[in-house]
Symmetry: C2
Amino acid sequence: MDDIDSAIVRELQRDARQTNRDLARTLGIAPSTCLERVRALRQRGVITGYRATVDLGALGRPVQALLSVRIRPMSREVIEGFKAYLIGLPEVLNVYVVAGGDDFLVHVAVPEVDDLHSLLMDRFSGRREVVDFRSSVIYQHVTKDVVGPLVAG
Amino acid sequence: MDDIDSAIVRELQRDARQTNRDLARTLGIAPSTCLERVRALRQRGVITGYRATVDLGALGRPVQALLSVRIRPMSREVIEGFKAYLIGLPEVLNVYVVAGGDDFLVHVAVPEVDDLHSLLMDRFSGRREVVDFRSSVIYQHVTKDVVGPLVAG
DNA sequence: GGGACTCGCCGAACGAAATTCGGCGCGTGC
DNA sequence: GCACGCGCCGAATTTCGTTCGGCGAGTCCC
């Protein structure tokens, strides 16, 4: 995990479909060497995959929200079961299991604001483990495209 | 945006580096046709980019948290300024600007739990617009890898 | 109802890229 | 100082991306 590996990770986060030759050229190394390092990063689990990012608006789901959910009891079975249930819902984008006041934070995307209400009523309020929930509409969501190691504390 | 386009989007979210030939084969269309459709999806803005996903633990940042922040005043300048400030912080992964009790939800990743405290003290508590904040350690974070259009309300 | 036009798909051809592999240089350890 | 090992390189081979001409179906207009 030297500087070249960091640069590879950075570049592939920026554009995962750039050719190996281009990547090697920007790094100043041979394509074969670059390929070898990329494969090593993949095998070591540093790079976990390559994903296309989509515009949710273009997919007809422009409205996003964060749902805070409290569940009881906080047993492993209930938590895992509820988490699996959430992942199965097509509206769900991310599930955060958190410490603190809330137990789950669920990132969802739906076509309209009304669908948020339907989602909560039809998919959450009926479940026995859910003791409380609250929804916050997301005005803006910015994802940092490139993530690297922290340089200095 | 027919079934084939949806399948392309789904497949490229699953693996953005699969070859165009493989993609065409799974869809049952010619590689040239597939290439054309992928380009169209890209140009229409449905596919916004291709990113490598990394393991934050392998990058030395295994501890994640969600920071809830309230700021005042809620003017456009203050919000945009604070958002830009957050994006500039290397610890930050995502920034959600939300309605409701909190104004910002900040997803961060740091090497150790202690770094959370340092981050809050050094980067948040000193800023004038920040009136309140709270941190929740993330026990688990599951991202749905493939996002598609909603089929039935 | 028929003809022409348009749009999207296909398949071959060409250029470029991925991948492999043998060899070389440098650093390390003995 | 010598031998070993690791990583990098560059050419060769295979595979892939990309272009382009043609074809068929569907449509619109006459």
